[in-house]
Amino acid sequence: MSRLELFVVVVAVVNVAVVLEFVRRRKLAEGFALLWIGVGLAGVALSLARPVFDAVARAVGVSYGPSLLFTLALLFLLFVCMSLSLHVSRLSSRTEILAEEVAFLRAAQEPTVDHR
């Protein structure tokens, strides 16, 4: 195992460990936990199976293995960004609804219109 490979494996393992710790502390919801555990395991697998990956790259017509890896990683990150954007959009529309609910509840409790 080259020094570079060792480095990549260590990074991937640390990644998995950090994800599991967040899951353990219940800071990550189940759906996201599944995603990031998958990412961590894929990282370990890819760093160990470099020859296999090179073969796959050649098979699909990419001459330099790592550039296929970069392309896939980039696409995956775009996908994650998109899904996070969707989540944030949903959360912000829910916040608006909640704020409206609170406003109406408050109005019902302490009438703001003065009828004197």
């Binding site: 599991l20 899951v23 353990r24 502390r25 219940r26 800071k27 919801a29 189940e30 759906g31 936990a33 599944l34 829910r94 609804i97 909640l98 609910e101």
Partner: protein
């Protein structure tokens, strides 16, 4: 007010029937009326962000209605019901589906078993009667039942049933911590009960064919949900228990 006894110790005024409902205007009225007739106690419908007339229909049928401002999922609806019960001094909760598939006349038995068996949770098993599942679904349900039974040290055959009775201890403890991940909630809550040393028993219930609404999910979504459920079970051991306030 005229009180009847549901079980040895539960006066009906201490029982809250909790019915989580999402867009079930076609059936929720009949379910509420049947629950009032066959089970007694108070009936609470938790409207989980319906866009139809579920809340109005439930109210007209004589239920108390709590409405979520948007859809939060069945687990959250059950948690709201348990929290309502805990905060209003109810000592037992019967959870019942709004789509009419659960027979309200089984409800009283579930509540009685809380006392007969000094149980904290009574699960209504659908395999006691006319309910049949096939293929992968059957395999999945059996595997779940086996895993959960082993961990709890009690034989359970149907771990995803949403027809359940909760005793006082379970109501209070789960009123903040009932999990809300879709489908996993029914199984995870049993694992939590196991951690707390709660006694869980099961009682056969009958299933009616669906009268209105739509089935919860197709095969593809079921598979995703099942995988998430497996994750929840696997992670359960390494995860910190939820705090008593709920959340991390």
């Amino acid at each position: 007010m005229h009180r009847r006894r549901a079980g040895k110790d539960t006066v009906l005024s201490e029982l809250l029937v909790v019915i989580p409902a999402l867009d079930e205007e076609a059936t929720v009225g009949d379910v509420v009326r049947a629950a009032r007739e066959h089970i007694g106690g108070s009936v609470l419908v938790v409207d989980d962000g319906s866009v139809d007339e579920t809340a109005a229909v439930a109210l007209a049928a004589g239920a108390t209605v709590v409405r979520h401002p948007f859809n939060l999922g069945v687990g959250a609806a059950v948690r709201s019901g348990l929290r309502y019960a805990s905060e209003h001094g109810y000592t037992a909760v019967l959870q019942l589906d709004a789509d009419g598939q659960h027979d309200p006349s089984d409800g009283r038995r579930l509540v009685e078993r809380l006392h007969e068996d000094s149980a904290d949770i009574v699960v209504g098993t659908r395999f006691g009667g006319n309910y049949r599942v096939r293929g992968l679904r059957r395999l999945g349900m059996r595997t779940l039942a086996k895993v959960v039974s082993t961990r709890l040290g009690t034989r359970l055959t149907d771990t995803t049933s949403g027809y359940r009775a909760f005793g006082k201890r379970a109501v209070d403890r789960l009123s903040r911590t009932y999990p809300s991940v879709y489908l996993s909630d029914t199984v995870e809550v049993l694992l939590m009960a196991g951690d707390w040393g709660f006694r869980v028993v099961e009682e056969p219930v009958h299933m009616h064919p669906r009268k209105g609404g739509r089935p919860s999910s197709g095969p593809a979504l079921s598979t995703v949900n099942f995988l998430r459920l497996v994750l929840v079970i696997v992670l359960h051991d390494i995860r910190r228990p939820m705090s008593r306030r709920g959340g991390p």
